[in-house]
């Protein structure tokens, strides 16, 4: 675990809890540099002033907010940063809510919280109390010059923090204008679909899913590094319209002896335990 990205304090009531924030996720995508095809040289981004047609050093770059076509209010980075409010290094849990009331769609980025200096007892106390009461603490967090609405909850043996999306940022399902079918699905169709869901039902084992695409890209890179040329496969075609009931029936026929919801594309083993479970075991 890399070192913490933010140190501060969580409070609830008069209880003060020094904490460290760690990122809970990391990006494993394959990253390329942009290069010039002709000579393989790196592409660099150059800032050009549209008036002078000359390169602008980073120090001379300001931020412009467009107020009407082509007219900008110009601000310095410091002025924009002032909007963050007090840089208090404090997350005050102003209220608590029942965990099941929160639709996880509001959770944006996840962080792990660790106990800061002399914060261990209060950390464990908040963790155990949130877990027992099945509550989530709600507060505000200023991070990288921006204020976030955050949720603090017990995650296994740890405290986790989620930045949250504001209600007005979420698209309402009513605005989608979904087409209504001429008739509802029949009882038989619902029953068959239910049976199909049941036959494909299994526990969630995150480790059984691999990023096959990432692995193929890395293989391609290795092959090219050895001087090999890759093959080009043909694109696949889609199926057209269908008879719903017949398709459901046929699916049930195939899934009855086809085993339960395998990760069909990776064929990964399902024996490895969840990473979260493994960790809590190692801790105790």
């Amino acid at each position: 675990m890399p070192r913490s990205i933010w140190n501060g304090t969580i409070t609830f009531g008069l209880t003060v809890l020094p904490i460290k924030v760690h990122s809970a996720v990391e990006d494993h995508g394959v990253h390329f540099h942009q290069v010039h095809a002709k000579d393989g040289a790196r592409i660099k981004q150059v800032r050009i002033c549209s008036k002078e047609d000359k390169e602008v050093p980073y120090k001379q770059v300001a931020k412009g907010y467009e107020v009407r076509g082509g007219a900008y209010v110009m601000l310095t980075q410091d002025e924009i940063d002032a909007a963050a409010g007090e840089q208090s290094h404090l997350i005050e849990l102003e209220e608590f809510v029942r965990a099941e009331e929160i639709d996880p769609v509001v959770y944006d980025h996840t962080y792990y919280l660790g106990a800061g200096e002399d914060g261990e007892d209060a950390y464990r106390l908040l963790h155990d109390a949130l877990a027992r009461a099945e509550r989530v603490g709600i507060g505000r967090w200023t991070f990288h010059n921006r204020e976030y609405l955050v949720a603090v909850r017990a995650l296994d043996a740890m405290l986790a923090l989620h930045t949250m999306r504001f209600a007005e940022e979420l698209v309402d399902a009513d605005s989608l204008d979904l087409p209504a079918p001429s008739r509802k699905p029949t009882k038989r169709e619902v029953e068959m679909a239910g049976t199909l869901v049941e036959s494909l039902h299994d526990g969630f084992t995150p480790a059984s899913f691999h990023d096959d695409y990432r692995e193929r890209v890395l293989e391609l890179i290795k092959a090219k590094a050895r001087g090999e040329e890759p093959d080009l496969p043909e694109p696949a075609e889609e199926a057209g319209g269908m008879d719903l009931a017949a398709a459901l029936e046929a699916s049930l026929g195939t899934s009855a002896n086809g085993g339960k919801g395998k990760d069909t594309q990776s064929g990964g083993k399902r024996t490895s335990p969840r990473p979260r479970k493994r960790t809590s075991k190692a801790k105790s």
Partner: protein, 278 residues
Amino acid sequence: MARSLWTGSLSFGLVNVPVSLVTAVRDLDLHFRQLHEKDGAPIEVQRWCANENHEVAFEEITHGYELDDGDQVIVSDLELQAVEPRRTRTIDIGQFVDLADVDPIYFVHPYFLVPAGEDDGSARAYRLLCEVMSRTERAALGRFVMRAKEYLAIVGERDGALTLTTMRFADEVRDPKDVDAATQKTHKPTRKQLDAAVAVIEELTCEWLPDKHKDRYRARLKHVVDRKRKGKTIKAPANAGQPEPAADLMAALEQTLEELSAGRSGRWSEKRTAETAS
């Protein structure tokens, strides 16, 4: 309605539901353009070849991957396309899980799926999936490819519409073994402390009302822009101090409960300051 980002079909057993993907999140951020401070002219970002030191057209740019030894492998768009999975227009549902089993730590971006087929059959198949998932509180796990990347996704139902949320793979979620979660026996709260902490939490519990919480940052940023537009100066707010952890957890909890029962719950920060000052 939002622009569709991807169109294909949701494949569920042998049932195919033509769908398109629209984002479930609106970008309400204020966006700024880079300006040259001296003359206020917009800045244009150009791609230059570091070797030849002149601008390069977009078509002349390709991908370079740096190997551990510092050597570079050049990979073209065509070659990358060649390793894309075959069924790029299908969200292949392989498994249904209990929604409660999937921790939100795996979620990346939420979308809605909307029916893309014109025919009545597609609309009915869509409705059927909604109904079954809502009834069983199950969600579907599947894979699909969008913009040259393969995603793991979870398909569920919300307010009569199908949702799709992209997910992280297990190895992208960090192992928390080095996070100090204070799990040693010595940090275990006493029953009395835990009871008091739960009592504080229950006292401070209210209904989750997402609309109540506003984006104060965006409002302040708008205010900053407005002030600047009127030629006023912008002052950065003072940095506030940090409270010290209380030596006696039980005393802090008991005092919180006292304040709460006396109906004096506002402004904990002032009370903490008063306490450390006294």
